[in-house]
């Protein structure tokens, strides 16, 4: 492969993985539930593209299956279902945030810097595509976790979890030779988790008339101070 082609391949892979990361950061500061779900769907689309591109670069056709699963499950089925849930629950209005947008964003940027600092020396010997990919993937995982702990609405926590899982897929496809069965099982487990979450959200709603998890905590008698 010529040097120019290699650079081009690298740039595209970099761009797509970076796109997933940027969408993760966007996810952090969305105020409305519908917007959160839409950004999540967009992230899944970019992720599917990235996985497809990896399949091309690595010459691994089974990654196309992964890309297809991602596209179908995460960009179509789950967002549609989440939209339906939100409509049904009638919570598609503004969501409240635990920490303000600015600090959350700053924390997210710090996490991105941290994951690059940690990953780069560890995988120095790996090829540059995988190297960048891992850094981005770790950042996406951390941002998903951050989203889960900064949100108090059950639906947006579910979305945080799903985007965390996107980071895992990004990492898994970046490494060469990851067998298909791993990705399939990860995707399957996410679907199951989604169903469980969905059922839970409705149960919570049925009982408490809200999907604010703080109410749940107050009910369990474990709330010590109001956040």
């Amino acid at each position: 492969m010529a040097a120019g082609t290699s650079t081009f391949l690298f740039d595209i892979a970099h761009l797509l993985a970076g796109g997933v990361l940027v969408l993760s950061l966007m996810l952090l500061v969305q105020d409305r539930l519908t917007a959160v779900i839409n950004v999540f769907a967009l992230q899944a689309v970019v992720l599917a593209l990235s996985v497809g591109w990896q399949s091309l670069v690595q010459g691994a056709p089974h990654l196309l299956v992964t890309a297809l699963i991602t596209l179908l499950a995460k960009a179509l089925i789950i967002p549609t279902a989440l939209h339906r849930i939100v409509r049904k629950l009638d919570v598609h209005r503004e969501i409240e945030r635990v920490i303000g947008g600015g600090p959350t964003m700053l924390a997210g940027l710090g996490l991105v810097a941290l994951s690059i600092l940690v990953v780069h020396p560890v995988v120095e010997t790996a090829d540059p595509v995988a190297r960048e990919d891992f850094a981005f993937a770790l950042a996406v995982v951390l941002l998903g976790l951050l989203m889960m702990i900064t949100r108090r609405n059950a639906v947006s926590q579910v979305v945080g979890f799903m985007s965390l899982e996107n980071g895992l897929i990004l990492a898994a496809t970046g490494a060469k030779g990851m067998p298909l069965v791993v990705e399939v099982s990860v995707a399957f487990s996410v679907l199951i988790a989604f169903i469980v979450f969905g059922v839970f959200v409705f149960r919570i709603r049925e009982r408490f008339d809200t999907v604010d998890v703080n109410v749940l905590e107050r009910f369990r008698g474990e709330q010590r101070e109001h956040l």
Partner: protein, 683 residues
């Protein structure tokens, strides 16, 4: 060797026998017949082990090894029977045989034998396994097995909250001790053990540790760790706190094993690690051991004097005797490091002889306490008294035990303490000036301990057996069964025999001291008139036989004189009432009042004594009260603060139990980020 089996294989067969006894105890436990079967079988197996040990010691058989294909993969479990193991097998199984025989009679009074019998066999098996183990893994495994089995015996009477508390404390101390031993073995095995796999496991055998001694600093560190680990089992200050709680909680024959025998397994662990496996140790470690032993001896006996619970008094006295043993061991370390073989051999022989002696008379005294408990249902000395009239046989054998433990000639306790003093008197030969000065101070401590032990057992015997009964329970006592009496009589006989003929036992110890100190005491059997001459005739000698003969003749002549010369007419008159108009048993010395002078002398520093007198005003008819409270400095300064720290920490951590899910997630997240920051900063 018997029938092609090596000695260690016979030892393992005995251990398998104990395991089998434990199993049959578990199966038969609820039947009435189980008690005599289990104790009888234990007695037979223990006697077999005693015979084996005697054969190895007297025949000076070479060490025998066996490797079983269990335990560590590729390396297996190593077992070895050398003279050191054989001597401790002798001590353990002699005690076990006596306790088993005693148990045939005493065990009948046990309300729940199914809780005792399975663990009794397992406990004996565990102790013997520790003595035969020849690699760190097998050793620690057997050590823990022994600890757990003995814990089960401590909490037999689990409906008494004191038992449960004692058991908990014992578990804590046992785990601490095992941790220390684990670290000590880690240091001795060296970095080679970390490679893992068969090659790494091979570093854990004692043979390998012996062949590649660690650097001096690691050897010293391992000595300290072994002192902590083995000392927590043996009862060194300040690790002794569990003994006075746990030993009395068990049934009496098990108490005898815990106190008289299991502490010796702790001593064995120390000797095995420090003298045998660790190689050469610098003399200052010896000083640490000597000082630990000296303080333990004095503090142990001081607390023993203060006790009113008979079995607790005996447990504290065990602490004292372990201190005496450790004085001998520390001296042996110092002498050996200075290259003075004969002096090291003397100190070692003194320590080992005291190990044997203590296991005999402490077993005897716990049996005596058990007999008193059976006869009266009481352990509290303040409620006993006058038992010499109702339990004459027990009274005689317990008197011999008390005299032995108080180190009165011509009994065995005197010989070993005398030998320890001889070793202390050799200390001017040590090259280090610090040791030259420090060791005589410890000698003074030992002398104090010996004197206080005399006071302690005058009190124990006098309050329990002499005077008049203090309660109806004491007045209604009856002599105990034949098995118990026979076991006590056998131990008392051994105490007297070793006291009169110590040379035989000292000669038996010669191969041990030759292995561990490179030298042995001169053969004592050849000395005329059965004297004991540890170093040279011009220096010191002791003849138990002469002392015994003199005492016997003097007593005989005095008795004859009294009976011949005194008037034969019997005269009955009111007893001299010493100004007390009411001849109530309450006017006698009580346990607390007997100990009062010592309590006052050492009150502020040692005991943290607080006394409160509640005297009614004149004309007031209510009773007066006198209360006092002692606080063990180990609790005041070490365990109290530690326990408070742990409780406070636990209360703080308790909040973690009630966090919200999001906070748990945040904690995980924070931990992850902190770890990543560390990784990023590390590079």
């Amino acid at each position: 060797m018997v029938g092609g089996m090596s000695d260690v294989a016979i030892g393992l067969v005995c251990i398998a026998g104990f395991f089998g006894i434990g199993l049959s105890g578990a199966v038969l436990g609820r039947l009435r017949i189980a008690t005599p079967i289990v104790y009888g079988a234990s007695f037979v197996v223990a006697l077999a082990a005693v015979a084996l040990a005697l054969g190895v010691l007297l025949g000076e058989a070479p060490p025998s090894m066996v490797v079983l294909p269990i335990g560590l993969p590729g390396t297996g479990a190593h077992f070895r029977l050398d003279t050191l193991s054989a001597f401790f097998v002798l001590v353990v199984d002699l005690g076990a045989a006596a306790a088993s025989f005693y148990g045939i009679g005493y065990g009948r009074h046990e309300p729940e034998p199914a809780r005792v019998l399975p663990f009794y066999g397992a406990f004996l098996a565990g102790m013997n396994l520790v003595l035969l183990a020849a690699d760190a893994f097998t050793f620690l495994l057997s050590w823990e097995f022994m600890s757990l089995a003995s814990w089960a015996l401590v909490v037999v009477h689990h409906r008494e909250s004191a038992s449960i508390r004692a058991g908990l404390l014992y578990l804590l101390m046992a785990s601490f001790g095992t941790l220390c031993l684990l670290l000590a073995f880690g240091l001795l095995a060296g970095p080679g053990a970390a490679i893992g796999g068969t090659a790494g496991f091979d570093h854990l055998t004692f043979a390998h540790m012996r062949a590649s001694p660690p650097a001096e600093i690691f050897a010293a560190l391992a000595t300290v760790l072994a002192l902590l680990g083995a000392g927590s089992k043996a009862g060194l200050m300040p690790l002794h706190v569990w003994l006075p709680l746990a030993h009395p909680a068990a049934p009496s024959h098990v108490s005898a094993l815990l106190s008289g025998v299991m502490t010796k397994v702790g001593v064995y662990a120390f000797v095995r690690i420090v003298f045998d496996v660790a190689g050469n140790i610098d003399p200052w470690s010896g000083l640490v051991v000597v000082i630990a032993g000296g303080t333990t001896a004095v503090m142990g006996v001081l607390y023993a004097v203060m006790q009113r619970d008979l079995k607790r008094l005996l447990a504290y006295s065990t602490v004292e005797n372990v201190g005496i043993v450790f004085i001998g061991l520390g001296l042996a370390l110092a002498f050996r490091a200075a290259g003075q073989g004969p002096a090291a051999a003397l100190a070692l022989a003194a320590a080992f002889l005291h190990v044997l002696n203590h296991s005999l008379f402490k077993g005897l005294l716990f049996f005596g306490a058990g007999a008193v408990l059976t006869a009266t249902g009481e352990r509290d000395t303040e409620k006993l008294g006058g038992l010499v009239h109702t339990m004459p046989h027990t009274a005689v054998v317990v008197l011999i035990g008390c005299m032995s433990i108080a180190a009165l000639p011509p009994l065995n306790g005197f010989v070993s303490e005398w030998l320890t003093f001889q070793a202390i008197l050799m200390s001017p030969q040590l090259p280090q000036w610090g040791l030259k000065f420090a060791v005589p101070v410890v000698g003074a401590l030992l002398a104090l301990a010996a004197a206080l032990a005399g006071a302690c057992f005058v009190k124990a015997y006098g309050i329990v057996f002499l005077g008049r009964p203090r309660t109806p329970a004491a007045a209604g006592a009856h002599e105990v069964d034949g098995f118990s009496l026979a076991a006590m009589t056998a131990l008392a006989t051994l105490c007297v025999l070793i006291g009169i003929l110590p040379g035989v036992v000292i000669d038996m110890l010669a191969p041990l001291t030759r292995d561990l100190a490179g030298s042995a005491l001169p053969a004592q059997v050849e000395v005329p008139w059965l004297s004991v001459v540890p170093i040279a005739q011009s220096r010191s000698s002791y003849n138990g036989l002469v002392v015994f003969a003199f005492l016997f003749c003097a007593a005989l002549m005095a008795a004859l004189a009294v009976h011949r010369l005194a008037s034969k007419t019997t005269r009955k008159s009111p007893p001299w009432d010493c100004g007390y108009p009411l001849p109530s048993p309450r006017t006698q010395y009580s346990s607390a009042s007997f100990a009062m002078p010592i309590r006052r002398v050492f009150g502020s520093v040692v005991f943290g004594l607080t006394e409160r007198v509640d005297m009614p005003r004149p004309g007031d008819t209510r009773a007066g009260h006198f209360r006092y409270r002692l606080r063990d400095p180990a609790w005041r300064f070490a365990y109290g603060p530690l326990a408070r720290f742990v409780v406070r920490g636990a209360q703080h951590l308790n909040r973690l139990q009630f966090l919200t899910i999001r906070r748990y997630l945040a904690l995980v997240f924070a931990a992850l980020v902190v770890l990543m920051l560390v990784v990023a900063a590390w590079r």
